[in-house]
Symmetry: C2
Subunit: 106 residues, 2 copies
C-alpha cells in the first residue's frame, strides 16, 4: 500500500475524493486542484484515477455522462453515508487523541 507521500501529514485518496465530491460533481482533474487547496495534498494522476475506479466499483460515486474530454463524477447516497461515517470515526479518535495530547502537555 500505501506509500505515504513525504510532504503530507496523511493521505487517503478515497476519503479525499469523497470529501471533494461532497461539494458537488466534479471531474478528476479539478479534484486534484480542489484537494490541493483544501487539504494541501497533491495527488498524482495514478493515485487519483485509481481511487476513482475503486470508489465507483464500490458504488460510492458514479460517473456522469462525459462532457467532452472531461469525465465528471458525483457522490452517491451510499458515498455520502460512508463519508459521514468515516468523518465521525475520525472526529471521535481525534478528540480522544487531542485530549491526551493536552493532558500530557499540561
Amino acid at each position: 500500500m500505501a506509500r505515504r507521500r513525504d510532504n503530507a501529514e496523511w493521505s487517503d485518496p478515497g476519503l479525499l475524493v469523497l470529501g471533494s465530491l461532497a461539494g458537488g460533481p466534479r471531474h478528476g482533474y479539478s479534484m486534484t486542484a480542489d484537494i490541493a487547496a483544501n487539504a494541501g495534498i497533491e495527488l498524482g494522476p495514478g493515485t487519483l484515477y485509481g481511487a476513482l475506479a475503486r470508489l465507483e466499483g464500490q458504488g460510492l460515486i458514479v460517473a456522469l455522462p462525459a462532457d467532452g474530454a472531461r469525465r465528471p463524477y458525483a457522490i452517491t447516497a451510499a458515498g455520502t453515508q460512508t463519508l459521514r461515517a468515516r468523518l465521525a470515526a475520525l472526529d471521535k479518535f481525534s478528540k480522544v487523541a487531542g485530549a491526551r495530547l493536552r493532558a500530557a502537555t499540561a
Copy 2:
C-alpha cells in the same frame, strides 16, 4: 497498501498507535485493546508490530526496557509533534468536508 479492513471506517495504524501512546507508555498488546476501545478498530499482530517497528525507525516512538515478556513503548517529542500535525490536518479537512455535507443536506 493499505488494504482497508472491511469492518472499519478507516485505518491508519501509525496514527492510531501514536494516539494510543499519547496517553502514556504502553506495551503492544494493550494498545490493541486501547485502540479497539477508542477507535473501534482491531489491529492484528502483524499490523500492530509492523507499525511499531516503522514508527521506531522514524524516531516517533522509543522502546522502553522490557518488563518480562512485555515490551513497552513510549512516544517521543517528535512523535508528539507529528501526532499534533496530523491531527490538525485531519481536523482541517474534516471541517471542510463536514460543512459541504451539511450544505448538501440543507
